[in-house]
């Protein structure tokens, strides 16, 4: 038995309605308990801001496409090197760090759970291998179904239950966490070098539309009682005028779940563009936020873009091709049979580019215009909008109008004509930030019930103590202190152990993989469905017996079970 007492912690714990109380947190064997004995180790938090461990609900940190980003960019690897030291491995990389680089840097920022935004089922083993080398966070994998042939066939047959059964079989086989749709239908069209422009375009050959895929999978997802909702990267990412497609997509979403949203729309900054071309692009954050404000069934994340060098990587292969033709730098693409695709190009977001300045403003506008912070989470679609190490600056910008104004003065002078950011006075508070970086994520992902994202008794002891006293700090003025505090915790506690102290990792750690297993009635077991098995054998190049991810890849399993209602 190991016990730890965190004393004098200034706690914000939105899920338990704690807002700035100074209190002690008792921890036993990795869990938060009522009290501990006198022999417990004591850490004096000295009144520092104490939050549940950070959760990133959409980031690209592990798997085929992430690793290919590293592989093709030695220049990015050289841009972020640290040496082998203590228990820390050598790390490389700035926008796409090595797995240990990701893990250490997230840990220094107080993050204890992270969700890989896109895993192709066929290559799931790769994602899990990298998870095992990401030792200081619990990890989850969004599993791609956007171009899944059996799913599209079920959608065409209007057979929601069959779609649900395919999802259940696949998630269990690949140890996936949630249903991810990236440019649904567009990734299959990309198999022929084509794309869909929005939700009503038919997918070549399969004769279904993105709208039908989205609607079917939202319903299927709820039939399976999965912890998270469908996680959607909308069609037509990054195109001027795409906000109408985004709002049209939101209008499809029924409200099916009392405990959480029915749709998580990711990196909405990239989907809130007005105008007709790069010449007249402008912000449509207002109508998009208005739509979200009227639909409790939707949660979004910002997809904030920050100026500087980074790498774009997404399962949205056709979008990366468009980006390549715009930038003319190096381009990688990886299509995955029967399932999905992906693309990568490096980018530089410049303050001298009016388009980039508009993008920067839109992300912040969304966070300031969505009224309820539980509906707009903080993320950059790491590393697409910016590497996750920029999160503290985003927190600073959201908490300080002055900081925003100062930045605004340094960007393209025409930006003000295209955006409304400079007119927004709202400044988010500490509680809002706690929601947008952990509590909101835990609720949206459906992992609060396994003890994530809060600090109540029974919660897992994942805790971040930031070296800042909120009563002595006015974030509006002292935003630099806020940014600095969120860059480096005083203590990051994972599973009841201090894993990172003042930015230095002090334990080796072991990752835990959280995945979803929805039990379906035998009649819906796709492993025994003759049609499913026949097509699998005929069209995949891997045998069905060799497809599932073996237990050896999940050294520490956090399976969330559910009973499907089919």
């Amino acid at each position: 038995m190991t016990e730890l007492l965190l004393r004098n912690a200034c706690v914000i714990d939105p899920l338990n309605r704690v807002n700035g109380d100074v209190m002690d947190i008792a921890i036993r064997d990795g869990w938060i308990v009522e009290s501990v004995g006198n022999g417990a180790e004591v850490i004096d938090a000295r009144g520092f801001l104490t939050l549940p461990g950070g959760i990133d609900s959409h980031t690209h940190i592990c798997g085929t496409k992430v690793n290919f980003g590293r592989y093709m960019m030695p220049e990015d690897m050289r841009a972020g090197r640290t040496i082998r030291k203590g228990v820390m491995h050598a790390t490389s990389g700035y926008s796409v760090p090595t797995t240990y680089g990701n893990s250490y840097r997230y840990s220094a920022m107080g993050y204890t759970s992270i969700l890989e935004g896109a895993m192709a089922p066929l290559e799931a083993r790769h994602t899990h291998e990298e998870f095992s080398a990401t030792p200081l966070q619990d990890t989850m994998a969004n599993t791609l179904f956007d171009g899944n042939w059996p799913v599209m066939e079920a959608v065409k047959e209007k057979d929601v239950k069959r779609a649900a059964a395919i999802v259940a079989w696949t998630l269990a086989a690949v140890k996936g966490f949630a249903v991810k749709l990236t440019n649904p239908g567009g990734t299959e069209a990309w198999g022929w070098g084509k794309n869909v422009t929005c939700i009503r375009d038919p997918v070549p050959h399969f004769e279904v539309t993105p709208a039908e895929i989205i609607e079917t999978l939202i319903r299927a997802n709820e039939l399976l009682r999965l912890p998270h909702s469908v996680h959607l990267h909308c069609n037509n990412l990054g195109a001027p005028g795409n906000y109408q497609c985004t709002i049209g997509t939101f209008d499809l979403v029924p409200d099916l779940n009392k405990e959480r949203q029915s749709l998580y729309a990711t990196h909405v900054q990239f989907h809130a563009y007005g105008g007709t071309s790069w010449k007249d692009i402008n912000s449509k954050a207002e109508p998009v936020a208005y739509s979200v404000n009227r639909k409790p069934q939707i949660v979004i994340d910002m997809g904030q873009m920050m100026f500087g060098k980074t790498t774009t990587m997404t399962a949205d292969g056709p979008m990366e091709w468009n980006l390549y033709r715009l930038h003319h730098n190096k381009w990688s693409n990886h299509d995955v049979e029967l399932e999905t695709t992906s693309g990568i190009i490096p980018v530089y977001y410049s303050k001298k580019s009016l388009v980039n300045c508009v993008m920067w403003a839109i992300g912040l506008e969304l966070a300031l215009l969505v009224k309820d912070p539980w509906q707009c989470l903080l993320a950059t679609d790491n590393p697409n909008g910016a590497p996750f190490v920029r999160y503290p600056e985003i927190i600073g910008l959201l908490m300080s109008k002055r900081y925003r104004d100062e930045e605004f003065r340094t960007i393209h002078p025409d930006t003000g004509k295209r955006v409304i950011l400079d007119t927004l006075d709202r400044e988010l508070g500490w509680h809002d930030i706690a929601v947008m970086t952990r509590a909101g994520q835990a609720k949206a992902l459906g992992i609060a019930k396994i003890g994530k994202g809060h600090l109540g008794v029974g919660a897992e002891a994942d805790i971040a103590v930031y070296p800042i006293r909120i009563r002595d700090t006015d974030p509006s003025r002292d935003y630099a202190a806020v940014v600095s505090a969120f860059q480096r915790t005083a203590w990051t506690i994972k599973r009841g152990r201090v894993v990172c102290r003042d930015g230095d990792v002090v334990v080796e750690g072991t990752n835990r993989t959280i995945w979803a297993n929805s039990r379906v009635p035998e009649a819906f077991d796709m492993g025994r469905d003759p049609e499913f098995v026949k097509k699998f054998d005929r069209y995949y190049t891997v045998r069905m017996a060799n497809y599932p991810v073996q237990d050896a890849y999940i050294p520490r399993s956090g399976c969330i079970e559910s009973e499907a209602v089919l």
């Binding site: 590293r70 050598a90 240990y100 790769h126 060799n546």
Partner: protein, 435 residues
């Protein structure tokens, strides 16, 4: 006993549909495999246990002594080289990389003498790729350039390209066009619809000509380019542009010849160009079983796919300097650990000579040319026969190779884990309690 869906341990096609019959802990039958794969299952000549050369011949040593010797050698070296990795599991490769990190050594893989130049090209211009099932289900035009799959990857055509049924092709063989480009008419060229017989060293020029044609600049093409007629080039340009889905495969005919990575860069840029007309992808014909797995794990651990030097504490990558042939040729390393490869058979003579001058430990199941330079050889199980583990197919799909026999040998990963652990114990690496 008949075992189904066994993964072949030979090449990076990683065929996973083998039927293997095992009787009395011995493979008695292999179905579905090619000749190369079937041979691998039945190869004998395993070393019985660790051996080292003495004045009087080769002596057996215990596993403990062998591991102790390896640890001593690595810890007392100033510039150790750790090399090999193509026929073992990702789990073993990962340990090898961490050993290099722990001792400040250089770790490199057989990649540097096969598709290293492909990686250099990808680092310049990227890689438009796909999994092999995309080709199988969609491709109506397939190019093999500077490779001879019938001899080097015998089932590539039947599983993934020409003779494989595909979802979007009614009659795959009839509907697909096969183009082979090489400097000699290989077995693969004999089955092609179109053979591009180019002069040695002419690959770059022919690829450039095709790029020009695809861009519509047909007027600039002379009557012959590196031995290939203008008419043929124009014909191929049209076939490529009119493909519904084209797949470009290439091998060491491009990576090892004059121009090296610049050839690959040109091929990639041709494929990029073709994507402006229709869909095209490109795939390197990776050779050994899990050579690609090394590149993957080395990348997620160090940031670089091969040739990583840890002597400064961080990962440093500079092919041409930190690659095995160069380090040996400069007589720079003072100890060498070889795992799952045979540099003495595959490196230039002068590079091999240096192996005779320095302590060498080899971890490998069989006696090979490198054995002659060993101060110690530790035999291990063959991954995919008597050890399991992850391997990456040439297209990046990871598959778990199975253990189908138990011959009593440890897996490479077991030996390497002990070596790593002892090195860390001796260096007193441990977690510290924060204050």
């Amino acid at each position: 006993m008949l075992l189904k869906d066994v993964v072949c341990p030979y090449c990076a096609c990683l065929c996973d549909d083998l039927d293997v019959t095992v009787e009395g802990n011995r493979v008695t039958g292999v179905d579905n495999a090619c000749d190369l794969g079937a041979h691998k299952f039945q190869a004998g000549n395993r070393l019985p246990g660790p051996v080292r050369p003495t004045e009087k011949g080769w002596d057996r040593v215990s596993r403990e002594e062998a591991i102790g010797f390896t640890v001593d050698m690595l810890l007392s070296a100033d510039r150790p080289l750790i090399y090999g990795w193509s026929t073992t599991s990702v789990e073993a490769q990962s340990l090898g990389i961490h050993i290099a990190e722990e001792i400040g050594g250089v770790v490199d893989a057989t990649t540097s003498v096969c598709h290293g130049p492909s990686i250099l090209a990808i680092q310049e211009v990227g890689h438009p790729g796909c999994t092999l099932g995309q080709v199988k289900n969609r491709a109506d035009v397939v190019i093999y350039w500077g490779c001879n799959p019938i001899e080097a990857h015998p089932r590539h055509l039947s599983r993934y390209t020409m003779y494989s049924d595909g979802f979007f092709l009614e009659n795959a063989f009839k509907e697909r066009t096969l183009i082979v480009a090489d400097i000699r008419p290989t077995e693969s060229a004999n089955v092609a619809d179109e053979f591009v017989h180019l002069k040695r060293g002419g690959d770059y020029a022919v690829l450039s000509a095709l790029r020009a044609i695809v861009r519509g600049k047909t007027g600039s093409i002379p009557s012959h380019v590196a031995g290939v007629s203008r008419a043929q080039l124009l014909r191929i340009g049209e076939v490529c542009k009119n493909a519904k889905y084209g797949a470009f495969f290439f091998g060491m005919g491009l990576t090892q010849t004059v121009g090296k990575y610049k050839n690959i860069r040109n091929a990639i840029e041709l494929v990029d160009e073709l994507n402006r007309h229709t869909k095209w992808t490109l795939t390197p014909m990776r050779g050994h079983f899990n050579v690609y797995g090394f590149n993957e794990v080395c990348t997620w651990v160090t940031g670089y796919p091969y040739a990583v030097d840890f002597s400064r504490g961080m990962a440093f990558y500079n092919p041409g300097e930190t690659t095995a042939v160069d380090i040996l040729a400069r007589k720079e390393c003072d100890a060498c650990l070889v795992v799952a490869s045979d540099p003495a058979a595959h490196f230039p003579r002068a590079a091999v000579e240096h192996l005779a001058e320095i302590p060498v430990v080899q971890i490998d199941p069989v006696v090979n040319a490198t054995t002659a330079f060993c101060d110690l050889q530790i035999p291990v199980a063959v991954t995919g026969i008597d050890a399991e583990g992850t391997a990456y197919r040439m297209d990046g799909v990871p598959i778990r190779a199975k253990k189908i026999l138990d011959l009593g040998y440890p897996a490479d990963s077991e030996i390497l884990r002990e070596v790593y652990q002892q090195i860390r114990d001796r260096k007193k690496v441990r977690e510290v309690k924060p204050v």
